[in-house]
């Protein structure tokens, strides 16, 4: 787990996007939402408890639907196997920002739902920034060996069922349940958490795929529209 020295740079634009809004449009049209985003950052930063749990494992063998890993570990999914077919190693990652932000969101909802949503947007921006930090850390390590990395893949993507993917990642990383845990329906607690795997090797080309391409909500997601 690397928790030290994680510094997240969250901007009001990121918080507005985290609420599903286009910052360029909404900043002029509803200045109060920009003020709320700034307030969420100001008060929210102290509530973050960012943690990244990561483990990189050597690939032993790859079949058409299975990746055999060292220590008798296994990923069994045709989509993931296809996507990571050129990986020599796989990095398993769980990130969380802790539960204080979601507690703040719940506490504010009845009295000020607009500010509550701003804090939720801040939480979304923070977990996304933390995940990006984790990916970048893996990328830098890979680059030192002249290797590159795949895009991150998360359970719940169109061809990787949530229940199977979460079980695989959690069984490999075995995080402290006080830091992050799974509900019986495979939702992570704290809610602002992300799980993912990244292939490390040669031949990964980021130009031909993006994480959003594999999201079940890719056709309708406003968050994606406002990020593009």
């Amino acid at each position: 787990m690397f928790a030290a020295a994680i510094s997240l740079d969250i901007t009001p634009e990121m918080v507005l996007r985290g609420q599903g809004a286009n910052p360029a449009i909404i900043t002029n049209r509803k200045p109060v939402l920009l003020e709320n985003a700034e307030r969420a950052i100001q008060e929210g930063m102290a509530l973050l408890s960012p943690k990244i749990i990561e483990r990189t494992i050597e690939v032993i063998k790859i079949s058409h639907d299975r990746i055999y890993l060292e220590n008798n570990l296994l990923i069994e999914n045709r989509f993931i196997t296809r996507e990571l077919s050129s990986a020599g190693r796989i990095s398993f990652i769980i990130c969380t920002i802790g539960s204080a932000i979601e507690e703040k969101v719940s506490a504010l909802y009845r009295s000020d739902p607009v500010l509550s949503l701003a804090f939720d947007g801040f939480g979304t921006a923070a977990i996304e920034a933390l995940a990006a930090f984790a990916c970048e850390t893996v990328r830098i390590r890979a680059k030192e060996e002249d290797l590159c990395i795949s895009i991150p893949y998360s359970p719940g993507m169109i061809e990787w069922p949530l229940e199977k993917g979460q079980n695989q990642i959690f069984s490999i990383l075995q995080p402290d349940p006080l830091v992050v845990r799974l509900t019986p329906s495979f939702q992570m607690i704290p809610k602002k958490s992300m799980s993912m795997i990244i292939g490390i090797g040669t031949g990964f080309n980021h130009n031909d795929r993006q994480t959003c391409d594999f999201c079940a909500a890719r056709q309708t997601c406003r968050y994606r529209l406002n990020r593009d």
């Binding site: 449009i25 939402l33 329906s185 939702q187």
Partner: protein, 212 residues
């Protein structure tokens, strides 16, 4: 629409909470019918906000800002509506299904329904099927609105519908479902009466279910 109702309408669309409450008070002071303030000023404004959202013009936080303005005005108007015996658009029991802790989408649906003069009983998230049944039984609700954000929890919508059947309530209540992984096809398969892909269309669907 007269000038004061137009001012209320505009203030809600612009999300100006203080202006809304001031204008509602002004309208009441002028002797405007509470039902006209509600329907021509406020509900019409929220309908327009929903339309703007569906068109991709308005964003989620703007809908919330508008709903907040609407709720402030509505709180002021409520005693007058009760006195004038103005009925709500319908009664909705809402919640995120068992096992699902996501509530932002459901909260938004609740606010938009309230903005369209529905009476909403919000059961929260991770709601057991029996709790839905109990709430329908106790409140005599017209609609059960269920939300799920996970493929692993959406089967609990069907479980809830079965629980309503077992309790003999299914014929007395319409079932409206929504959430990111859902489709119209899935809603049909589980025997829901309506499906909405977002908060705005949840309101339109709820209205059509009441009218049916």
């Amino acid at each position: 629409m007269n000038e004061i109702l137009r001012a209320i309408y505009s203030s809600i669309i612009d999300g100006e909470q203080k202006v809304t409450t001031a204008k509602v008070q002004e309208a009441l002071d002028q002797g405007t019918e509470p039902s006209a303030i509600l329907n021509e000023g406020m509900v019409a404004a929220m309908a327009e906000v929903g339309k703007l959202f569906e068109e991709g013009e308005y964003f989620v936080p703007e809908m919330l800002v508008a709903a907040r303005a609407m709720q402030s005005g509505l709180a002021m108007l409520k005693p007058y509506l009760v006195k004038a015996d103005v009925k709500s658009s319908g009664k909705v029991v809402a919640g995120t299904v068992k096992g699902d802790l996501h509530d932002i989408g459901k909260n938004l649906v609740c606010m938009m329904l309230e903005g369209s003069a529905f009476e909403v009983i919000d059961l929260g998230s991770d709601v057991d099927p029996d709790k839905f049944v109990e709430a329908v039984h106790q409140t005599n609700a017209d609609i059960v609105a269920m939300s799920a954000l996970l493929t692993t929890t959406m089967p609990n919508m069907k479980v809830t519908i079965e629980a309503l059947k077992a309790a003999g309530l299914r014929d007395k209540v319409k079932v409206l479902v929504g959430g990111a992984p859902l489709t119209q096809q899935y809603a049909n398969e589980i025997g829901a009466d309506g499906y909405a892909p977002d908060a705005s269309r949840a309101v339109a669907t709820a209205k059509s279910l009441i009218a049916a």
